[in-house]
């Protein structure tokens, strides 16, 4: 059964220094509030896994939380570069960042393999590209039935998956809809999971096209209304495209980024519902 706790407690209980963490949400339902909490709790040496690192990982990388990035496409969608990511890769600031790079299809299939309890997934892809030369976890595999050469990609098995959803009920059953990305696979592939939600309701109303993660498949549920911003929760909020555009300027300059972190992340600690972020409570896990 999922435990319903504060966001600060959920992160303290699940995300430890050195962990492999997948914060998923494909443009929609990105768990930004949870990412901010990880920064606030000053986690270090994380291996961050995500199809599209987006602003959420730009912030974590710039704040010095990441040692390694496992990803498919690291940009600010529709705007341009992720400047904190680029600064880490091109100039090792605030420190160097190891890369494990795939395509989106490869990342999606790696999550599927992890969720399926398989060591790898099979796909058509990567052949003829430069990716296999620089990325571990990609290999040719011959079909035992047709003799065709296909591509195997290794399973992703993160320590923790962190996602955002529209709703959960008081038992911790989670419901989300709209662009559903790879969140179900990320949760099922991971040893632990945190789901932040717009609201916790008595019972989940029927919703066309919704994905439901039953309470017993989820670790922790925390209410975080607006917790996807500047991403969005369909039916609750709209994507804040102006913020995505503004991030280009905020993130371009190290000082300006540091000032933004101080004001909006570290300075917002008092607004968080959890304990004093300087001394986070460690729940058993």
């Amino acid at each position: 059964m999922a435990e319903i706790v504060t966001l600060a407690d959920a992160i303290a209980a699940t995300v430890h220094d050195g962990d492999t963490v997948a914060m998923e949400g494909f443009t929609h339902l990105i768990p930004h509030a949870a990412g901010h909490e990880v920064i606030r709790q000053r986690r270090r040496d994380l291996t961050l896994v995500r199809m599209t690192p987006d602003i959420i990982y730009d912030q974590l990388i710039g704040a010095g939380c990441a040692r390694k990035l496992v990803f498919g496409w690291a940009g600010n969608p529709g705007v341009g570069s992720l400047h904190r990511f680029r600064d880490a890769v091109e100039n090792a600031w605030p420190h160097s960042l190891e890369l494990e790079e795939h395509s989106h299809a490869g990342m999606a299939n790696r999550f599927v393999a992890g969720a399926s309890g398989l060591p790898f997934a099979i796909m058509r892809g990567y052949r003829g590209t430069s990716l296999p030369a620089y990325t571990s976890g990609v290999a040719d595999i011959v079909c035992p039935f047709t003799g065709e050469t296909l591509t195997a990609v290794s399973a992703l098995r993160p320590d923790v998956a962190v996602i955002h959803a529209q709703r959960a009920d008081r038992h911790g059953n989670v419901q989300y809809w709209g662009i559903s990305g790879v969140q179900k696979e990320a949760v099922l592939a991971s040893a632990r999971s945190v789901v932040t939600v717009e609201e916790i309701v008595d019972t989940l109303p029927p919703q066309p096209g919704a994905v439901v993660l039953p309470s017993w498949a989820v670790g922790y549920v925390a209410a975080a209304p607006g917790g996807a911003h500047p991403s969005y929760s369909l039916g609750y909020s709209e994507r804040d495209n102006d913020f995505y555009k503004a991030w280009d300027e905020i993130s371009r300059d190290r000082q300006r980024f540091a000032a933004w972190l101080d004001e909006h992340i570290y300075g917002a600690a008092a607004a968080a519902t959890g304990p004093d972020p300087a001394a986070p409570t460690r729940a058993a896990c």
Binding site: F26, T27, H28, M51, T52, F71, G72, W73, A74, G75, P77, G78, V79, S81, L82, F85, R86, V89, E90, L99, E101, H102, S103, H104, A105, G106, A108, N109, F111, V112, M123, R124, G125, Y126, R127, G128, T129, S130, L131, Y134, E148, T149, W177, G178, I179, S180, G181, V182, K184, E185, P205, P208, G209, Y232, L234, G235, E238, R239, N241, Y244
Partner: protein
């Protein structure tokens, strides 16, 4: 009057036929596909890798995951499903891609430029959905601005395969789609030579000279004996494009009329 980029977008839109299924990347491809749907190809099926199948946005979305795509789609599916069930088996007619660098065989680099992979001079976003779009769609259209930097003799990184190293390459690699049959730039259009599969300049925009295109190409450019000048954007095309590109979201209908709102997944509560 019109800008070179407008000619590029209009030319890209014209390349799409009504009723096609089109896997759309963000940027000029998305702008062009939406323009086509508003002009000559109202039944064009737009598919974004966010899993929105048959999206009908009333404006050009900033990202591939804007809410308007899910709200107007015929179906919204997960990311594993969009790649494994819809793209990989070759169900999609045309893949519409941008690129940072392109070589004469239509191979694409969107990963890194200069120095080494580990410490590049310029780190680009990476692969995203492009490698499998380039591999599996029945045909691929690439849209990018043309310069000696973007039209490179040699790619620093092959992110997505066009015709590989030449004839036979795609078959040998097991790539099931047809490969890039059209490259659209801000100067003209190129198509692969049927024998060598190297890109050949086949169309040029009004006011652009062949020498100018050569100056903007990092390899010795082949020019088709049947080189034609493409028609400038019509008044209707320009009006539709400018409305799409400039309209603030609120001033255009965000959704189709209620009667035509699809009821598949993605509807708001």
């Amino acid at each position: 009057m019109y800008a070179p980029d407008e000619m590029m977008t209009v030319t890209a839109a014209r390349s799409l036929r009504d009723g096609m299924t089109c896997f759309v990347g963000i940027g000029v491809p998305s702008e062009a596909a939406n323009l086509a749907r508003r002009t000559h190809a109202p039944e064009l099926v737009l598919i974004y890798e966010s899993g929105t199948v048959g999206a009908k946005p009333g404006y050009v979305p900033l990202s591939i995951g804007d809410g308007v795509l899910a709200e107007t789609a015929d179906a919204v599916v997960s990311v594993p499903e969009i790649f494994n069930y819809w793209l990989q088996p070759g169900r999609i007619d045309v893949g519409f891609l941008g690129a940072a660098q392109l070589d004469r065989y239509g191979n694409i680099n969107t990963t890194m430029i200069g120095r080494t992979y580990e410490h590049p001079a310029v780190r680009l976003p990476g692969a995203g959905g492009a490698p499998e779009i380039a591999a599996a769609c029945k045909e691929v259209v690439v849209v990018l601005r043309q310069s000696r930097r973007t039209f490179a003799e040699r790619l620093d990184f092959v992110t997505s395969v066009g015709f590989g190293t030449g004839p036979g390459s795609r078959q040998q690699l097991g790539l099931t789609g047809g490969g890039p049959n059209l490259v659209i730039t801000d100067l003209g259009v190129l198509r692969p030579d049927p024998a060598t599969l190297q890109l050949v300049l086949t169309g040029i925009y009004p006011g652009v000279s062949v020498d100018q295109v050569r100056d903007h190409t990092g390899w010795e450019l082949a020019v088709s004996p049947d080189l034609s000048e493409l028609a400038p954007p019509s008044a209707a095309e320009l009006a539709a494009l400018r409305l799409l590109a400039s309209a603030p979201a609120a001033s255009l209908s965000r959704r189709p009329p209620a009667a035509t709102v699809p009821t598949a997944g993605g509807a708001s509560p």
